[in-house]
């Protein structure tokens, strides 16, 4: 075949330019997320100037006691929780879409969120612990264990011969209906008081955020993200299709299990603390894919950042939409996220699912 004469702009240069563009996009999204975080802290019933807020964040000891308490005890935990939960849900969604080769896969549609809700409801309504001797974290642990059971069920189905990734997704959808039904039973038998608690929880809320909860969600991210990064090339290869990924030397079954369990861990900790928040796990990765493509080196951090930014913006909207009323964030993500998502899909000319 003919060898084209080297031009001034070779494909290597263009590739490196593309990578630089991706890194710029990452940096811009990171800055926007930081701005959103500060705006989130500055938003609330007590009207304080941005300068006072920033001063209280930077040097809490010098700031007036009232502002310091509001910022450090109330607003900052909520704002940071939004960031961490957004990251967790979007990373979980991104990797579920990758390993299941399906644009609809996310913790919500695969039944992981529903399983976690059922586990939490067991604790709230019946006081049943799936893991004895941990009464303080009862709700969280129950949610986590049920989410893990659901993801293991999905994985076990995938081990049967001839089961496609589509079947795994259908299995996830079946699990979602099953756990929603069991949740319904618990709601039916629940006392008025626990029912109210359950409804509040299932609408998704950041208002019970605390520093210790943020610590646990962050720990889940610190455990799983390095695993995703190390598997980055193999995960990208998986999007070439199972057969080609295996030809490329990827142990597809083992990678799928590892990543499914890690994604479930992320989803479970997020759902356990803030309740059910839909669409972030779906929309975050989709926006990231449109911006930087699916090379995991940029796709994963971009998903994390878009998820964090979306969740942080949602947190601001939930405080400002009706002045004086704090709306559950789960409702906001669904109401505002949905039309936004549909418009993105319709605008996007990129067809990436074979």
């Amino acid at each position: 075949m003919t060898v084209t004469a080297p031009t001034t702009d070779t494909s290597i240069d263009k590739y490196l330019q593309r990578r630089r563009r991706h890194y710029w996009l990452l940096a811009i999204t990171a800055v926007l997320t930081l701005c959103s975080l500060i705006a989130d802290v500055a938003t609330g019933p007590g009207q304080y100037g941005l300068g006072d807020i920033l001063h209280a964040i930077m040097s809490p000891d010098d700031a007036p006691r009232a502002i310091a308490v509001i910022v450090w005890e109330i607003r900052l935990p909520v704002a940071l929780m939004a960031i961490m939960v957004g990251m967790s849900l979007a990373c979980a969604g991104a990797e579920m879409q990758t390993i299941l080769n399906n644009p609809l896969a996310d913790p919500f549609t695969l039944g992981i969120s529903a399983a976690a809700s059922f586990g939490a409801a067991l604790a709230i309504v019946l006081g049943v612990s799936l893991f004895p001797a941990a009464s303080e974290l009862l709700t969280t642990l129950n949610a986590f264990i049920m989410a893990m059971i659901a993801s293991l069920l999905i994985w076990l189905v995938s081990r049967l011969r001839g089961v496609s990734v589509q079947t795994m997704v259908l299995m996830g959808i079946a699990l979602m209906f099953f756990f929603n039904a069991t949740l319904g039973i618990l709601q039916y038998v629940a006392s008025a008081e626990s029912l109210q608690q359950l409804v509040f929880w299932s609408l998704g809320s950041l208002s019970r955020a605390s520093w210790s909860k943020i610590g646990i969600v962050t720990a889940a991210l610190l455990i799983t993200l390095p695993i995703f990064f190390v598997a980055g090339w193999r995960l990208t290869a998986l999007r070439m299709g199972d057969l080609q990924a295996r030809a490329l030397g990827v142990n597809v079954g083992r990678l799928r299990l590892t990543v499914l369990l890690c994604s479930s861990l992320l989803a479970a900790t997020a759902v356990a603390f803030v309740g059910i928040i839909g669409f972030i796990g779906l929309v975050g990765p989709h926006i990231a894919r449109m911006l930087v493509g699916e090379d995991q080196r940029v796709f994963l951090p971009m998903s994390a950042l878009t998820g964090a930014l979306l969740m942080s913006l949602t947190s601001i909207v939930s405080k400002t939409l009706i002045p004086g009323v704090l709306l559950p964030v789960g409702i906001i993500t669904a109401l505002i996220g949905l039309p936004f998502f549909v418009s993105l899909i319709l605008k996007s000319r990129r067809e990436v699912w074979g």
Partner: protein
């Protein structure tokens, strides 16, 4: 120094796909053509050799038994190019080809990038380097898949109908180039192909498989492709010519069995 296959069998549950496949050899420096009717188990044979399909039997490469290698080691030496390339992942052509190299080579980055560029140039793909996989035509997509295969510089390359989506110009171009690649790199290349004229023209060695996953003939194209054997294995009446100074011609004349007349064939 070659690829050898002895008593290889593959089962899917109770169905036997490959039945004691033996005496197969593929030598470096030349193209080996794997031919046979639909459902004879050609893809399964290539996958079994690559270690993607579970099998029993002995496969050795340069006197090393392949089942002693782990998945990644085996994939570093033998690359199998699947027949259906359908991925529409949001990756540029350059990213996709670099990915194929990076999953085995941990070498110097700049060298990897140069290798990718060179491969794209030889396959006339450099002008599409920035495009997403989903924006390519079937033929371009197939050439990207071939680029992904050769950029890894494997010892053995197994291509499952790599020219099925290519126009005549690119079919001849790619096959000529594969012959040169095998010779220059002393690579072992096995290619499953349906066009018998092209198979006869570009290969030096042939594996002919028949229904039921058995080997019907092995050897030089002139010895394997006889009119009588084509009637037996393919159920066709064909005219085979080996004109001097011209490419060989296998002209199918008629099917010896009407569609629906007999249900012996099995499709997988």
């Amino acid at each position: 120094m070659s690829l050898r296959v002895e008593s290889l069998s593959v089962h899917f549950g109770r169905t036997q796909i490959l039945d004691d496949v033996s005496d197969l050899e593929a030598r470096p420096g030349e193209l080996t053509a794997l031919i046979g009717p639909n459902g004879a188990g050609k893809s399964t044979l290539l996958k079994a050799i690559a270690g993607i399909e579970k099998s029993t039997g002995h496969i050795s490469l340069d006197d090393t038994a392949l089942d002693t290698l782990d998945i990644a080691q085996r994939a570093g030496r033998i690359y199998y190019l699947p027949q259906d390339i359908t991925s529409r992942a949001a990756l540029s052509v350059f990213e996709a080809v670099l990915l194929a190299r990076r999953t085995t080579h941990q070498s110097d980055r700049q060298q990897d990038l140069k290798r990718v560029q060179h491969t794209l140039q030889t396959l006339e793909l450099e002008q599409y380097a920035e495009r997403d996989l989903g924006q390519l035509s079937g033929g371009q997509r197939q050439r990207v898949a071939i680029a992904q295969a050769v950029v890894r510089e494997p010892r053995v390359l197994m291509l499952d109908e790599p020219t099925s989506a290519l126009d005549l110009h690119h079919q001849l171009q790619v096959l000529e180039w594969l012959v040169a690649l095998a010779r220059e790199q002393q690579m072992i290349i096995v290619i499953a192909i349906h066009d018998l004229s092209l198979a006869a023209r570009f290969s030096r060695h042939m594996w002919l498989m028949g229904a039921g996953g058995i080997v019907r003939a092995v050897g030089a194209p002139e010895a394997v492709l006889t009119e009588e054997r084509l009637r037996e294995v393919y159920a066709i009446k064909a005219h085979v010519e080996w004109p001097d100074g011209e490419p060989p011609r296998v002209t199918p004349l008629a099917a010896t069995r009407q569609l629906g007349a007999q249900g012996t064939g099995q499709d997988f």
